[in-house]
Subunit: 336 residues, 2 copies
Amino acid sequence: MRRDRILLAHGGGGSLTRELIEKLFLARLENPLLKPLDDSAVLVMGGKAHAFTTDSYVVRPYIFPGGDIGKLAVCGTINDLAVMGARPLWMSLSFILEEGLLLADLQRIIESIGATAAEAGVQIVTGDTKVVERGKCEGLYINTAGLGEIVAPNRLGAANVKAGDAVIINGPIGEHGVAVMSQREGIAFQTNVVSDCAPLWPLVKAILDTGAEIHAMRDPTRGGVAAAVCDIARASNVGIRLREDALPVSREVRGACDLLGFDPLTIANEGKVLVFCRTTDAAKVFAAMRENPLGKHACVIGEVCEQPPGTVTLRTTIGGERIIDMPTGEDLPRIC
Amino acid sequence: MRRDRILLAHGGGGSLTRELIEKLFLARLENPLLKPLDDSAVLVMGGKAHAFTTDSYVVRPYIFPGGDIGKLAVCGTINDLAVMGARPLWMSLSFILEEGLLLADLQRIIESIGATAAEAGVQIVTGDTKVVERGKCEGLYINTAGLGEIVAPNRLGAANVKAGDAVIINGPIGEHGVAVMSQREGIAFQTNVVSDCAPLWPLVKAILDTGAEIHAMRDPTRGGVAAAVCDIARASNVGIRLREDALPVSREVRGACDLLGFDPLTIANEGKVLVFCRTTDAAKVFAAMRENPLGKHACVIGEVCEQPPGTVTLRTTIGGERIIDMPTGEDLPRIC
């Protein structure tokens, strides 16, 4: 593997992304606000804690079953704020457009952005548009930044998970990645899977409103549930034990993963949230999730232990145990 | 001209960019915070007014005389906050990288980002990295969003300029655009011009500290001084009269513009600010600018009148008068 050049896997959200961030970026840009590397930075403005996040969206194709790059951009931003316990308020919206892009496609995407933002009560307040020559991007890329006001009573973050926490997810995994991949030239296949792309704030608010002691939330996007839990196990220096028989995976996603040789644990989601909460509060969190349309298939999928620190293990359906590694990020480029 | 597809000029910062924003974007995303279309949105957080801005950077080549895409991204963000009277505090940083990009180039650009941010006292607090396949971008594109706290005593904005205001600029125009163009394949030419790319907050702070009544500031980037003053004339419904003999243009920039058939008024700057202030305060603003390293070649270049509303005129050196139109944006794609 060439190590002097950028590889696709550097953008996969797995171990190579992590290496790039730690070795190249953090070394030169480090400060106490950046260092936690959570989904959003926490900034105090006018005496109040706010969450601030950014993401670029390069998904290919830019219209896919269950959504498009515009809906994805709004949901992704909202979800990165929500998992920090922040009520999403405002977004920036920046386009890199390819010369020759059909205005009708752009219009459809903007309508999708407008509808998703309106539904979620978020305002687009500033933006930018650049155009590059034909062949210098692929239709369009979008960048957003988001701002929200933190309403969670205690600070949520990957480093705050504690032994004894329960791990809960709001529904079946892998749908976004499979829906996007099913449209790709070369590997197109028949499937009924649609992206789970959804703004999670209403669900997160319902969870926070229970008054449960939440330690961290994470939306398992690139790298899937595997990357998210590996990240948290490392940041909190805890062991995380998942139960394979408890992991919600639809028959269609399972079939597609078998066909393509993927593990559903490493496939991206865009409408899922992992919740780490005190075990004694798990029942009320679970109940609140089940009552919400975005959480009606919620499952308790594991627990947090002291040992082995920094490690994720999966108890398999046949009673074995395997270690879940941080994916390298090579599997599924450009699913978001 | 094909009107059903995106053209390069849609990204040029001129009339076609404006048309795209008004017809396609504003129609579907409009809200009171977005509508002013200033360099930053003004958001009240915790009872305090903050400025929030975003820009994508697609400059080609990404290393040019006087800077690189990283320095440009930090300066551009800082300047969009500064011209709203905001002290720049925090930035997001999002990369779209091309598979195969040399890590050494990326490292150089990150070092440049780190150095410029440190010099300006701004922290990079959150980020994102995506990688696209070889040929799907050109080396790298950067997006930033910026946050600053507004310290100006009154609201600055394109719509707040008044008849009787003086128009001051902090130095010679057109250097960034010419420096970048001089490196382009096909039109490379010998020049000593380097980009004026610089963080303007120290200069803006010095201007605000005079206590002068400032009505608007604008950094004349894409579309140059022409696009900035046309925008302001329209937003404030005033006439702006510029004097050609007062416009600072270096011999080298003038020569390059003659060679390429460009008007220096439409060429991008990345370290210039146009200040619109009450005429009776112009002398103290001018003096404060001249004392600052970034303003030592400051000039009063024009004045604001009631008539003709929405129009910019240039009194030429030979005593004639010509109307300055909003540039279409076709001249110089990808200079930022």
